[in-house]
Each structure stands twice: as C-alpha cells, then as structure tokens.
C-alpha cells in the first residue's frame, strides 16, 4: 500500500516533530548546557572529590553487576534452554519480572529483607556484613534491575542454535566443558556482548532502586545519578549537567554501539568475508 505523497509527507513530518520535541531537542539542550561555559564546568566538576568518588563508585558497581549478570545470565540461559527440571516454566516467567517492577519497589523489597530490621539484615549485620546503606546493597539493587538483560539476549540465540553442533562435538570426543568453550560460547559470543553492553548502560544509570538502598551518603554511598539529583537541587546545576552529560554519553554510546553491531549482524553480507569466494547460489544457501 503506497500512500499518496502528501499523506506520507504529513506522517513523516508529524513523526519527526514529535521525536524532535520529545527527545532530540531536550537532549541537545543538555549537551549545550553542559558546555555553556566551555570546559570550565567540567574542570570544576571533576576536581570535586565527591564527584570523583561518585563516578568511581558507579564504575565499580557497574563492573561488579556486569560480572555477576554475565556469569548468572549465561548459566541460567543454558539451564533454561538445554536442561529440563521441575519448575522450569515458572522460573522462565519469573525471570522477566525485574523488567517491569518499579525501581522503588525493588529498593523497598531489598530493604525489607536485607535492612537492619529485615529478614536477614540483622543477622548479616551481626556477622559484620552490612548490605543496606552500603555498597553491597547498591550492587544488589542494580543487579536486580539488570537481571534479565543478558538472559534475554542469549536465550533466543541458544534456542535458535539447537543442539546439533554440540552433539557433533560430543561425538567427536569433546567433554561438556570443551563443547561449551569451543562450540557454544563462540556461537553465543555476540549475544553475550550485547547483553553485557546493555547491562553496563543500565547499571551506570540506575537511580530509583539505588536511592532507596544506598542512603545517599555523599562520599560513601552516593552514586553518580544520586549526585546529579542532589547537585541539581542544591543549585549546582553546572556540576549536575556535567555529570549527567558524562553518564548520558556513555549510556547512549552503549546503545548506539549495540544497535549498529546488531544491524551489521543482521546483514551478514556486509561482514568482512574472506575474499574470492564463489557466491553460493540460492539453492545452496540454507539458513
């Protein structure tokens, strides 16, 4: 159905205006505000020890969450796709839950269990391990909201892959671990990379859940996003914009990277292939 030119142009104009007003313009203004005084705002912001601490804390949390999510995500994806066990369908459904739970509810839930008066919190604290109002709580909260990201990337790839290659490796004498390392892992490599990048973006930007569990102590448990809020409300908008710009750049770069990689992935023809290959005829090419 090819719409008439004026319908097409109208629709196009509506969409462009909507997106520019909602996203494009506001985002570009933040960039502009951040650079309003040239680099001076940045220099001032990054000379502030609290800012530096917040950035370091955010980075450290993100790294830990990425590691946890990757190990757990790969493991649970393999189990859910390849193995059979009672309760698998339920687990499958529950794995998506963190995606639609409010960050504040996530924070509350963790406080109720790991807080000083929570189910396990008291015992943990007596054992000298503080979770809530301390970095482990921040890691837990961030890991919670990032939980499904790696899994959602790997599971479809693993399902699509099937077991033939793995069984072929087994019949050629490879152990389970050898099969995983030499056959399965290379096949899901890109899915893992996407998952990691998306997790990284999400982990750097988590705000609500972290706000509840961290206590927001400047220089101790204040992450970058919490710092942005506080500085903005304290009328240090320059610092807020500078840090916000930094966070936004990294997150947007992550997403753009995945989008670009993925569209490359979808069009294998554009991938660097070994030269001088005879193009396979359609009948010879199979999915």
């Amino acid at each position: 159905m090819d719409s008439s030119p004026w319908v097409r142009r109208t629709l196009r104009a509506v969409v462009v205006v909507y997106l520019v007003l909602l996203v494009g313009w506001p985002v570009s203004l933040v960039a502009k505000n951040a650079f309003a005084d040239g680099l001076e705002t940045f220099q001032r912001a990054f000379a502030d020890p609290s800012v530096l601490f917040a950035l370091q804390l955010t980075a450290a949390v993100a790294v830990q969450v990425v590691l946890l999510s990757t190990v757990f995500g790969v493991g649970i994806s393999l189990l859910v796709v390849r193995y059979d066990f009672p309760g698998k369908a339920l687990l499958n459904a529950l794995l998506d839950l963190p995606l639609s739970v409010s960050p504040i509810v996530v924070g509350l839930a963790l406080v109720l269990v790991y807080g000083k008066n929570g189910w396990f919190g008291g015992a943990l604290e007596e054992a000298g391990f503080r979770v809530i109002f301390a970095p482990p709580g921040i890691v837990l909260a961030t890991a919670f909201v990032c939980l499904p990201l790696v899994i959602r990337e790997i599971v479809p790839v693993l399902t699509e892959l099937g077991t033939d290659e793995e069984l072929a490796a087994t019949s050629l004498g490879a152990s389970r671990f050898q099969t995983f390392r030499r056959i399965t892992l290379p096949a899901i490599k890109w899915a893992v990379v996407y998952g990691v990048v998306l997790t990284l973006a999400r982990a750097l930007g988590e705000f609500g859940a972290v706000k509840v569990v961290s206590g927001n102590f400047e220089g101790r448990t204040q992450t970058s996003t919490l710092l942005v809020e506080q500085r903005y409300q304290d009328f240090e908008q320059g610092t807020a914009y500078a840090v916000a710009f930094l966070l936004a750049s990294v997150s947007v770069a992550c997403i753009v990277a995945v989008t670009l990689l993925r569209s490359d992935d979808a069009a294998p023809a554009r991938r660097p292939a070994r030269p001088a290959t005879r193009p396979a005829t359609p009948s010879e090419v199979d999915a």
Partner: protein, 295 residues
C-alpha cells in the same frame, strides 16, 4: 527496562517454551535438549536459583508478606489514605493517557520508520533508543532543559501534572515503536495489495488488514509502556516537584512512607504496583502464546 528487546518475534521462543501437557513427540532435526541434569549442571542450577531467590524472589515475597502483616483493613487504609489515593489515581490516569498516546504515536512512528525512506531516518532510530539508554534522572534533567522554567520555548511544565505526563511520555516512547516495528517489517505486503485489488481503500485496508495483524504487538507494547509508566520514579523527581495531592505519584509515596518509617504502608502501595507488573507480564505471555499458535 528493555523495550528494544522486549517484543521482537524470534525473541518469543523462550516464552513459548515446551508445552508440558502436549504429548511427547519424537524430537526432530535441531532439538534443544533437554539434556539430563548432571552433578555439575545440577549444582549450577542450585547456585543460580539461590542467587535469583536471594536477589529477587525473596525480597519481592517480603513485600507481599509485609503487606499482609497488617491484614486486609490495614491494606485498604494504606491505599485509600487521601494522599496515597490521590497519588495512585494520578499515576494510573496519567499512565493510561500516556499509553493511549503511545498506541497512536508509537504505531505511527513505527509505520514511518518501516515504510518511509528519507535522509536522517537512522538518526530517528537512535532518538527512539535514547529514552531507554538515558539514566532516568538525566531524562528528567533533559526534559527540564526544554520544558522547565528557563526553557527556550517559554513553556514551563515543572511542578505541574503536565510534567508527569511528559516524563511518562519520554520514558515509554520506545515500547510500542519497538514492539510494532519488527511485526510491521515482516508483514506481507501482498495481503495489502490483495485487499487493494479487491477494492478496499487505503484506510479500509489499514483498518481491516494491517491493524488486526499489528494488534498483538501494539497491545504488548502498550502493556509494557503502562507498566513502565506506573513504576516510573527517576524521570519525575526533578520535573514534577512531588507536590502532595497534585503531582505526587505512586512510587514517590512508597519512598516517603519508607523514609517516614512506615514500611507496612510502603509495602501496601508497592504491592499494588507489583500486582500490575504481574498482570502485565501475564498479558504479554498470553498474547505471545496466542501469536505463536497462530503461527
């Protein structure tokens, strides 16, 4: 939240899963396990379940337990307390309004991205992903820059209900678009041409042929964007001012209950939000199963 990942066809395989009640068939060409659990994989499963429980299941359970501690009257009292009721009403009405906007605009954006060609289309694709990528607090800051007191347009929505609507619109932008886009791209143009050859006008073709095909994707995207809207917090903090009875939303109520040392009331409001999340997940799973059956 992951709108870009949420509803692509081909990403639904897991949700479909094996149907345990179906008669076991001989496995065909590329079977997907199930392998038998060995000692190692069994241990792995144990560790994974332990981590998942400690991280998500037990805490979410704690919310429900905390809610039920006071019994039904306490729950009702908590959620009907005027300030809370106002916050929940505002959250739900704004979320519904935003979802309606998304159903129309999201479908429209998806349509233009799939069916139209023009320079700069790729840039629009990136714009769609930005709300997903941007830290929510930064999203609030971003909106304030244009629609705040010192915005160049002279429109100031800060501390009004319009701010809530705007923030919801921003963070939920990708859901319907990313859910509809792949379905629309896969849609067989032949069917539309067939409809046209049978004498249908463009509008009739869209309404009777295209829309029904997109309906499950639109619904799934709408469900996700509704769930996201009612649970939003970060994008609102700086923008809406959190004025009691006026611009305060559900998640802010939870936080203030918690900060005032009223975890039971906080849990009650959280349970309401949690219930909606569960309903949304259930809706989407049902839809996917339906779509899968239809092939």
């Amino acid at each position: 939240m992951s709108p870009t990942l949420a509803e692509r066809p081909g990403r639904t395989a897991r949700e479909r899963g094996p149907a345990p009640a179906a008669p076991a068939r001989r496995r065909r060409r590329t079977p997907n396990g199930p392998y038998r659990l060995t000692a190692t994989s069994g241990l792995g499963l144990g560790v994974a379940l332990l981590w998942f429980s400690a991280l998500a299941l037990v805490p979410l359970l704690a919310v429900l337990v905390e809610t039920s501690a006071g019994g039904w009257p306490a729950f009702v009292a908590a959620v009907t307390q005027p300030q809370t009721a106002a916050a929940l009403t505002l959250t739900v009405t704004q979320a519904l309004a935003v979802t309606a906007v998304n159903v129309v605009m999201g479908t429209l954006v998806a349509w233009v991205l799939v069916r139209d060609r023009f320079p700069g289309k790729r840039l629009l694709e990136v714009l769609i992903d930005i709300p997903f990528a941007l830290p929510t607090i930064v999203a609030g800051l971003v909106l304030l820059a244009l629609y705040g007191p010192s915005g160049p347009l002279g429109i100031d929505v800060a501390n009004t209900r319009a701010a809530v609507f705007l923030a919801f619109c921003f963070v939920t932008l990708p859901f319907v678009v990313r859910s509809v886009q792949p379905v629309l791209a896969e849609l067989d143009r032949d069917v539309e041409e067939a409809a046209a050859s049978l004498g249908a006008t463009r509008f009739t073709t869209f309404r009777r042929v295209v829309l029904p095909a997109l309906a499950p994707a639109i619904t799934a995207g709408a469900a996700l964007s509704f769930a996201r809207a009612i649970s939003e917090y970060g994008a609102l903090v700086l923008l809406s001012g959190n004025l009691p009875m006026r611009t305060e939303v559900g998640s802010v109520r939870i936080l203030s209950y918690l900060e005032n040392g009223q975890p039971e009331q906080a849990a009650a409001v959280a349970s309401v939000l949690l219930l909606v999340s569960l309903l949304v997940i259930a809706t989407i799973q049902l839809l996917q199963r339906k779509v899968a059956r239809r092939g």
